[in-house]
């Protein structure tokens, strides 16, 4: 039975639980709701929950454990040298799984019968070719061990699936019977249901923690693996970046970090004044009508996917900068450059800076403006001498947040900044960033056992720490230096 069918079965049993639970409670009170502890619907929900919660839990656990158990069973098929390194082991298991899936597909398409799939041997001809006929492309010829393991895998999977169905069904049934037996008019169904609901609610609120834990674990784990293969001193202090999948690569962080910082710097030079001045205009000068049109219009920029900005950088802005500025002045001849990416990220960040600045400017109390106007200051003097100083911590915090967004931006730099890792001051030169290299090291066919691939996790770690640090500093500044009015 497929997982989907199992879910259908659980749903049907839950429905039964709902109807029977409700009916039983009503019957035990002879249809008089006033005699029951809870409203009838709670007895129904109790029945349904008793079916759903334990059976789903059992199903999830089974799904998590089954692959591990099967993997352990298949260990015997592989020579010990494969089992020693976890990477080789994962690869071998992936091979087995792919061959097993291929056999499944072949059966589904009628190219093989169930018996043939169990009987096929490498001695009879190429299994790879036979699987290729049904559209399963395998990287290499199937070895006898892998084939045998795959066949065993299929057998075990069949057994596992039957066990899974039986277990889930039994658990669901047990829940149903329990709920039916316990239900009578004095049973405190509402309290029980509310307890379960509360448990589910608090469980879902831990997803945020689980995500963070997942991020940290995946970054730290793989980074540590990277640092066992590649010295950390070289990663942090080497000045060259030249990955080479044949080995012997230089994986220095410095050029990438420099590119990231340079591009973010250019972007903040663009975004800060434009965002700040548009916020000042909208908050202090614009009439409500103008504001109600212009503010959403600026925020449209924030709603446009970054890949659109990336295409704009690649197709429009990059060539313009190259043809009009870089080539005539002899500064460079590349369409993708620090300038291109920086300008476009700056544009992307304008609404971000502007809405943050708008918020903090609006938070400055009107009394301070009125006081300033009262002693004869003009609007611009009020802005410069009263409002901006009062709003400064918020504005600085906003700039730091914008900087952190610029550092983490991926698509615009991937499409607009170039791929050459170099330490250079010329803004019309193509440079690259941490995010670009994460993408380029991890896309395509990659195997997770070379430092060239794993370096992406160390880069991700650096990026994570960098942006998180900036965010923490920004929030700290905002909180520490915020003027408390009222």
């Amino acid at each position: 039975m497929s997982v989907f069918m199992l879910l259908v079965v659980i749903a049907v049993l839950a429905l039964v639980g709902f109807v029977v639970g409700r009916q039983r409670a009503l019957a035990s009170a002879a249809g008089n709701i006033k005699e029951m502890h809870s409203l009838p619907v709670y007895y129904g929900w109790h029945g349904a929950l008793m079916v759903i919660v334990p059976s789903l839990l059992a199903l999830t656990l089974w799904l998590l454990i089954q692959p591990l158990v099967i993997e352990r069973q298949l260990v015997g098929y592989f020579p010990p040298e494969v089992l020693e390194s976890s990477a080789a082991r994962t690869l071998a298991m992936a091979d087995v799984r792919r061959v097993a899936e291929g056999l499944d597909i072949a059966i589904a398409q009628g190219a093989m019968t169930e018996v043939q799939a169990d009987m096929v041997r490498t001695e009879f001809g190429s299994v790879r070719d036979r699987l290729a006929e049904v559209g399963v492309a395998l990287g290499a010829e199937v070895t006898p061990q892998v084939l045998a393991a795959a066949q065993n895998y299929r057998e075990l999977a069949v057994i596992g699936n039957i066990g899974r169905s039986i277990l889930t069904f039994l658990v669901a049934l047990a829940g149903l019977i329990y709920a039916i037996r316990i239900t009578n008019k004095d049973f405190r169904a509402r309290n029980r249901v509310e307890q379960v609901v509360m448990a589910l609610l608090s469980l879902s609120s831990t997803v945020a923690i689980l995500t963070t834990v997942g991020i940290v674990l995946s970054l730290v784990g793989e980074s540590l693996r990277f640092f066992t293969m590649y010295p950390w001193q070289d990663f942090f202090f080497s000045l060259t970046w030249s990955p080479n999948f044949q080995g012997g690569s230089d994986l220095g962080l410095a050029p990438l970090l420099w590119g990231t910082i340079y591009i973010s710097f250019v972007s903040i030079i663009v975004a800060a004044p434009i965002g700040l001045f548009s916020a000042i205009y909208l908050a202090e000068y614009a009439s409500p009508r103008v504001r109600s049109v212009v503010k959403p219009a600026i925020e449209v920029i924030a709603g446009i996917p970054t890949v659109v900005f990336g295409l704009f950088a690649l197709v429009t802005l990059g060539p313009i900068l190259r043809d009009w500025i870089a080539e005539p002045t002899g500064w460079g001849n590349s369409g993708s450059s620090v300038m291109t990416a920086g300008l476009v990220i700056g544009i992307l960040n304008i609404p971000f800076v502007s809405s943050l600045a708008d918020d903090v400017i609006n938070a400055v109390p009107q009394a301070m403006r009125d006081g300033s106007y009262g002693i004869g200051a003009t609007k611009s003097e009020t802005i410069r001498l009263v409002i901006l100083p009062a709003a400064l911590p918020g504005i600085v915090g906003g700039m730091l947040l914008a900087l952190s967004r610029a550092i983490g931006e991926t698509m615009i730099v991937t499409m607009g900044a170039g791929a050459a890792a170099k330490l250079d001051l010329n803004p019309f030169e193509a440079m690259t960033t941490i995010t670009v290299k994460i993408v380029s090291q991890l896309t395509g066919d990659t195997e997770f056992d070379s430092p060239e691939t794993l370096v992406a996790f160390a880069l991700g770690m650096t990026l994570f720490v960098l942006t998180l640090g900036l965010n923490v500093i920004a929030l700290y500044i905002v909180r520490k230096y915020r003027e408390q009015y009222e």
């Binding site: 991020i215 709603g303 983490g408 499409m415 995010t435």
Partner: protein, 451 residues
């Protein structure tokens, strides 16, 4: 006594008229105008850039929706397509697309001769090169599905190749054709004549929405089919996964959670997650869901899981804001008539907060619709030609792409015809976003209550 009156020379411009602005006042007023001008300039710059960007995308991309198409009668030559003449499918599958290409080529040349279009020294092979590489395959599928077509003459429409198409859209000119090994100016002149003869025309191309991606050499037959399916699968999954989870978490944190270290930790986590760069979520997806969890690479399921994790913080924050907006009087009234706390929340607070929650969810869905970076890491930039199967038969586990990723993949190709396609894909993407935002605005306008 003030300082000013003891030192009269410090009080300037005593003799000047009040009606004429003093020098200082003029300077101050100039500063005033300057500030205003800066503000207007900043707004004009940002809106103008937005306008220019959208304009270039639209002017590049709108032509992706139409395509130069050849229409001519094709005579299914039995001698080529079914050499043994017994209409046996097994025998006929041995005829590859090369055979069908010959049939198409011959039919096109016959049609040119019939309409008396002067070929002017364009070789037969170069005429054959007008026909897109996917036409023979399509014809072959048609014939294999219905062998009785052999020997008949049917009306067939095939895309012209990308260069011919580009010529009618202004991307390819006589000058560039001279330098291009794939097309010659003579061919372009012939294309003009074919257009006059009515064999070739540029028309709306619905296949742009339905075809899967195509290889580098035939941009004309590439389409958004797989990307749209993948995007729809992901969006559906993201809603199913993130809405209940996000709302439940928000309800717990806003209504029930005790003030303690654990809930503080959760709150700090949520606000930090909202600021984590999206690419990091891609790394998470790759390490946890693919490498550790063994889920298939490039599948819409993994994409949806990653986007769900990204969307959750925003959904939680939006939901909490709209729960908070429900006035306390509603809560006390519900408790006052004997509702339990859970009943109060689910019967009264949540329904009232629902419009706000849905608006927030749609907006965060719109953000994740345009997300590209993390999807690249989980392999969704792969070249996928097969449509994923239906959602109930495991289609979410099969390789797919998404609209923004397709934009990136096309932008990375060398043929400029793909830039047009990438811009066209962006138009489709923006249309999706526009619809979602309009729905969110309508929801907010119609159902949001001010207390």
């Amino acid at each position: 006594m003030s300082d000013a009156s003891t030192n009269p020379s410090d009080v300037p411009h005593k003799s000047e008229s009040l009606l004429v602005p003093s020098k200082l006042m003029r300077r101050r007023n100039a500063a005033e105008t300057r500030y205003k001008a800066y503000g207007i300039a900043a707004i004009v710059i940002s809106l103008a850039t937005l306008g220019i960007m959208l304009f270039t995308i639209f002017s590049d991309g709108i032509s992706a929706f139409s395509q130069a198409t050849l229409r001519f009668p094709v005579t299914m030559d039995a001698a080529t397509l079914d050499p043994k003449g017994n209409r046996d499918i097994a025998e006929m599958t041995k005829v590859t697309t090369i055979g069908y290409k010959k049939v198409l080529e011959k039919s096109l040349i016959d049609e040119l001769n019939k309409r008396q279009v002067a070929v002017d020294g364009v070789s037969e092979k170069d005429i054959g090169a007008f026909i897109s590489g996917d036409a023979p395959a399509r014809l072959r599928d048609m014939v294999l599905a219905d062998p009785s077509l052999i020997g008949q003459t049917i009306d067939f429409s095939a895309f012209a190749t990308g260069r011919i198409d580009g010529y009618f859209k202004g991307r390819v000119t006589m000058e560039t054709a001279k330098l291009d090994s794939n097309i010659s100016p003579e061919q372009l002149q012939l294309a003009d004549k074919m257009k006059q003869a009515g064999i070739l025309d540029v028309r709306f191309n619905p296949k742009f929405f339905t075809n899967p991606d195509a290889s580098d050499t035939r941009p004309e037959s590439s389409g958004l089919g797989v990307a749209i399916i993948g995007t729809l699968y992901m969006m559906a999954l993201v809603v199913v996964l993130s809405l209940p989870l996000g709302v439940a978490a928000a309800i717990y944190l806003e209504e029930f959670a005790p003030q303690n270290r654990f809930t503080d930790l959760i709150e700090v986590n949520i606000s930090n997650l909202a600021a984590v760069p999206s690419i990091v979520f891609g790394i998470l997806g790759l390490a946890i869901f693919i490498n550790f969890g063994g889920l298939p690479q490039s599948s819409s399921l993994v994409g949806a899981l990653v986007l769900t994790l990204m969307a959750l913080p925003t959904i939680i924050i939006a939901t909490r804001a709209s729960l908070r907006a429900v006035p306390p009087s509603i809560r006390t009234a519900a408790l006052g008539i004997g509702a339990s706390k859970v009943q109060m929340v689910f019967h009264h607070v949540l329904p009232l907060a629902m419009p706000g929650i849905l608006t927030g969810t749609i907006l965060s869905l719109a953000t994740s619709l345009g997300e590209t970076g993390p999807l690249l890491l989980i392999g969704m930039e792969a070249f996928v030609v097969n449509y994923p199967s239906g959602p109930l038969t495991g289609g979410v586990m099969e390789p797919a792409t998404a609209l923004p990723v397709q934009v990136y993949a096309w932008a990375a190709r060398s043929d400029p015809a793909f830039i047009e396609r990438a811009s066209g894909a962006i138009i489709v993407l923006l249309a999706f976003l526009l619809v979602m935002n309009i729905v969110a605005i309508i929801l907010r306008r119609r159902f949001e209550r001010r207390w």
